[in-house]
């Protein structure tokens, strides 16, 4: 009898290992797909701005910079503080060059998916629930964004998940390792520190709620010790290091697009929020519509066991608030909570006692198709992100044939001028790192809209701007909606500006003082 049980257990373990292996293969394929699509399209650059700033930091670290990196490729300079992601990326960069920026996030993605699986197992989710949650997670756009692009959040997420797994184990040694993980994760931003602290708070509260009445003291001290032990490094880092709230790059702020007079403001506001949250509506870091519906279904279905899910509810709520406060790249973190709900949601729909098997199958098929369609669509978006192949000429032109001088460009192109063009820019998208960012942005706006050459010259002189790069997006509504508006008229008619480069995507004007 015992032998039979052991054999069954052994078989179950083997099956589980096989499922995990195949699951990780699927995750790997999904994470590599955006790169493959991009390469098939003839674009061999890394995806997105963030990848390039991280690559630049890795290169600088590899070439002898220390923990504190002085960046001179932005007007007024700035200081970066290297974190574990940069260090590992720099180490990998020495081995495999630019591919480190693909490999590291993908490996961290695989690790994060596996860690979530293990955490779910630790918290008593059954095998089907674990597979469903992890599969839904792998198909989510936010997961793709976090682990396909070279992204510091990938390391912070993996460390936090590892810390959570270790923290939830009832072994003393593990608490030490959990503290190390949390400490390393907390170097990334204040948001990470708060997230970890809240996890410990909610976890201990959940544990306390689970404990039967009158059975308190033994576990209580143990838990308090664990929390204290893990909190000290967080506290030390929070007060000793000049830490940013959250280093958001894609600042899709929640502004509402101007609409017609008479249109209803509440619907506009709602539309604005949807645009920032739903990748099917163009959000860069968000969730698919099907994914969100499943998450809501999962949330509702767990309500009957709310005492079990309170920590997750509160954590999700915190992250949602954080999204509104710090930008929607935090969705990469919230995604893990959403995945739990979405996975449970799809299982809830499957198991809701359908009267008609046909309708059940049809509905599930549509859900799966919807999830896949969102993912495929998002993979295409990622594959098409900047820099595009037809822009590379402009950057190469600046690097190879132009003397140094400040470049004014749209923020999304600025990092490309920094990395590929090797030219300093007035400002880029890392607003939090740039001195007098608001003033610079206001001045740039005034310059773009100015039809007065004297006013334009005074702004140009203020920052010693040597080049102005105008891309097609700026001409098509990002800055101007008419061909001869503001500075565009000055460019044509004034001797102050000389066009030195022209392509369908980018034109570069040199400023003659």
């Amino acid at each position: 009898m015992r032998m039979q049980a052991m054999a069954e257990q052994d078989k179950y373990r083997k099956n589980e290992i096989a499922y995990i292996f195949y699951g990780l293969l699927i995750v790997l394929a999904i994470l590599l797909l955006p790169h493959v699509m991009r390469m098939l399209d003839g674009n061999f650059t890394l995806i997105g701005e963030r990848s390039h700033i991280n690559l630049r930091l890795s290169e600088m670290l590899g070439s002898g910079y220390s923990y504190r990196i002085d960046d001179s490729l932005v007007h007024g300079g700035r200081i970066f503080h290297a974190n574990l992601y940069n260090v590992m990326s720099a180490a990998l960069f020495k081995l495999i060059g630019v591919y480190s920026s693909v490999l590291l996030p993908v490996l961290l993605g695989l690790a994060s998916a596996y860690l979530l699986y293990s955490i779910l197992k630790r918290f008593g989710f059954d095998a089907v629930q674990r597979y469903a949650i992890c599969l839904v997670l792998a198909l989510s756009p936010s997961f793709l964004y976090a682990f396909s692009l070279s992204n510091q959040d990938s390391m912070a997420i993996a460390l936090t998940l590892f810390g959570i797994l270790l923290f939830s184990e009832n072994k003393k040694d593990y608490t030490f390792y959990a503290a190390v993980c949390f400490a390393l994760a907390s170097f990334f931003s204040l948001f990470n520190i708060i997230l970890i602290a809240l996890f410990m708070l909610f976890y201990s509260a959940g544990k306390a709620a689970d404990r039967p009445a009158g059975n308190e003291p033994a576990g209580k001290n143990n838990m308090m010790n664990k929390i204290f032990f893990c909190s000290v490094p967080l506290f030390v880092i929070a007060i000793s290091k000049p830490i940013v709230l959250y280093n958001s790059l894609v600042s899709q702020s929640f502004h509402i697009q101007p609409m017609a007079a008479g249109a209803v403001s509440i619907t506009q506001a709602f539309a604005g929020i949807l645009n920032n949250f739903i990748t099917d509506l163009g959000a860069v870091t968000g969730f698919g519509i099907f994914y969100l519906i499943l998450a809501v279904t999962g949330f509702v279905s767990t309500w009957n066991e709310k005492s079990r899910y309170y920590p997750l509810y509160l954590g999700t709520l915190f992250m949602l608030f954080a999204v509104f406060y710090s930008g929607n790249e935090i969705n990469a973190y919230a995604n893990f909570a959403f995945a739990v709900f979405a996975g449970l949601g799809i299982l809830r729909i499957r198991d809701m006692g359908w009267q008609s098997v046909f309708i059940k199958d049809a509905t599930l098929l549509i859900i799966v198709c919807g999830l896949l369609f969102s993912t495929v669509s998002y993979i295409n978006i990622l594959g098409d992100m900047e820099p595009r192949q037809n822009e590379m000429g402009a950057f190469a032109f600046m690097r190879e044939s132009q003397p140094d001088g400040i470049v004014l460009s749209s923020p999304s192109k600025a990092m490309m001028f920094e990395y590929f063009g090797q030219k300093p820019v007035l400002f880029d998208n890392l607003a939090g790192t740039i001195r007098n960012y608001d003033e610079k942005a206001d001045d740039a706006n005034a310059l773009y809209m100015s039809g007065n050459i004297e006013e334009a010259r005074s702004i140009l002189k203020k920052y010693d701007i040597a080049y102005i790069a105008i891309d097609s997006g700026m001409r098509n509504g990002l800055v101007w909606d008419e061909p001869d508006k503001g500075m565009l008229a000055l460019l044509k008619n004034s001797k102050t500006f000389k066009k030195v480069y022209d392509s369908s995507e980018i034109e570069i004007w040199k400023v003659n003082y």
Binding site: A263, T267, N275, L281, F290, W354, G370, D481
Partner: protein, 493 residues
């Protein structure tokens, strides 16, 4: 029951006769979208595929749409001429609302007089007559929507769940207005839950299927538009200058004229009766439908036309309950001896408040159709201008330029996926209202325009009597004039 069928058939024939009478008053169609529909059908007949890349619209653009309606018309075009298909088929299908309204009214009242009266009311909703000459997909979709409601009410019977799913599949491919039904179904489930009615499993299942299917199909068909416009796709990228008019707010007078005073007044009575007195689960889906339509129109998320259509038909069906109530009450009072005069009064009020306004709207639809002046001008453009010419017109006439004159337009009423639409609309307006020929010439050159089509519509839309710069013969040569109402100018500089 057999006698009822004759009544229903008679009412349907009467409605059809009235519709066709007005539709055939003119050889042309009303609204430029009708001509876009004809162009799509022609393209399907010629190539088997709808026209997705249109090199004439906006000088070259991609259309995205649910294509079933065009295929549906193309099927009839296999054995009927296209003009006849455009006039006959939408009107033929729109009268299907009458037997469907009868079935729904019967479900509510179980009384034949009331059901027949409800059906008649639904058949003569003025809003439904205003689009009789526009080749509107709504004429096919709305009967389907209400038949789906009929199936939904008895979802457990026979194959109603499958019929519902099949119709939902087809109607969603016809038009996204099935969104209205989805909201109604969700509203119905909420109402039924609040009133502690036991919900059928099938109701929940088909609702779930419908929500996911609708979302999936919309994402599939409109993917690029969603990515391009985001959630603002609800407003279809309509220029801000005309958005407020397009999703025009409505007022009670307009609602009464489009729905009819009687169905509206007593529909509202029936809603309050079902919500507060008699708990009837069957009525909840209709009440929910009425609320959804009103709410979406009020929030300016849908245009007035489908909103009023939906509200009107729903109110007409709910009216049958009021009819039943009045005559049931009458029977137990002394007023029963006035049964016939009261019934006649009902008929009179019905004719006065529904049939007459319907005829009025039908007449207006025929009147607003494309005039002989416009058709002649289009023919002139087709024959006398180079094939790659770009013609300036109001956006509302853009599809006429592409469909009848076969030339490139500057803008038409399909705004989806057009970048900088506000600027384009502003340019068009600025050209028509320009005081100086230099301003007009600059904008005309910027937009590559070769001819200006100037009609009464432009006069009304931009509130001008004529083109101020037309006297400048060095830049603008008048090449066509029809009674001083339609002029075409060639741009020379």
């Amino acid at each position: 029951m057999k006698k009822d069928y004759y009544w229903i058939l008679a009412i349907a024939m009467l409605a059809l006769a009235l519709r066709l009478y007005f539709a055939f008053q003119t050889p042309a169609f009303t609204g430029d979208e009708a001509y876009m529909t004809l162009r799509q059908v022609e393209h399907i007949r010629a190539t088997g595929m709808p026209l997705t890349y249109d090199e004439l619209s906006y000088g070259g653009r991609t259309h995205i749409f649910a294509p079933f309606f065009y295929y549906f018309l193309a099927f009839f075009n296999l054995f009927l001429p296209l003009d006849l298909v455009g006039k006959l088929i939408p009107n033929l299908f729109s009268i299907l609302i009458i037997p469907i309204a009868y079935l729904l009214s019967w479900k509510l009242t179980r009384q034949r007089d009331a059901a027949i009266f409800g059906a008649a009311m639904a058949g003569f909703i003025p809003a439904f007559f205003s689009n009789l000459n526009s080749i509107s997909a709504y004429s096919v979709v709305f009967p389907m929507l209400f038949y789906m409601i009929y199936c939904f009410i008895d979802i457990d019977e026979d194959n109603n769940a499958y019929i519902f799913m099949a119709l939902f599949f087809v109607s969603t491919l016809f038009s996204s207005i099935t969104f209205l039904l989805l909201i109604s179904m969700v509203g119905y489930l909420v109402l039924a839950k609040l009133e502690n009615f036991r919900m059928k499993k099938n109701e929940l299942e088909v609702t779930m299927f419908s929500i996911f299917f609708f979302l999936w199909l919309q994402i599939l068909v409109y993917k690029n538009a969603f990515l391009f416009h985001g959630a603002a796709i609800i407003w279809q990228n309509i220029p801000v200058q005309i958005l407020a008019d397009y999703f025009a707010g409505t007022n009670i007078v307009k609602v009464i004229s489009l729905i009819g005073a009687i169905p509206l007044t007593y529909g509202v009575y029936s809603i309050s009766h079902y919500l507060f007195d008699e708990k009837n689960k069957n009525a909840y889906i209709l009440i929910s439908m009425a609320f959804s339509a009103a709410l979406l129109v009020w929030l300016k998320l849908i245009t007035t036309e489908p909103g009023m259509l939906c509200l009107g038909i729903t109110m007409a069906i709910l009216f049958s309950r009021f009819y039943q109530f009045v005559f049931d009450e009458l029977k137990i009072t002394r007023l029963n001896r006035f049964y016939r005069p009261i019934w006649a009064a009902f008929i009179f009020i019905f004719i006065f408040s529904s049939v007459v306004p319907s005829a009025y709207y039908a007449g207006r639809a025929a009147e607003n159709s494309l005039s002989i002046r416009d058709i002649s001008a289009m023919q002139w453009i087709k024959i006398n201008t180079p094939p790659d010419s770009v013609i300036l017109s109001t956006p509302g006439e853009g599809n006429l330029i592409t469909a009848l004159a076969k030339r490139r337009n500057t803008a038409d009423s399909d705004y989806l996926l057009i970048p900088n639409i506000n600027k384009r609309f502003k340019d068009i307006k600025n050209i028509f209202t320009a005081y100086y020929s230099a301003d007009a010439a600059r904008l005309l050159n910027e937009n590559g325009i070769d001819y200006i089509y100037f009609s009464d519509r432009a006069r009304q839309e931009f509130k001008i009597k004529g083109l101020n710069f037309a006297d400048d013969n060095t830049c603008f040569r008048p090449v066509y004039d029809f009674d001083g109402k339609v002029q075409i100018y060639e741009v020379l500089c």
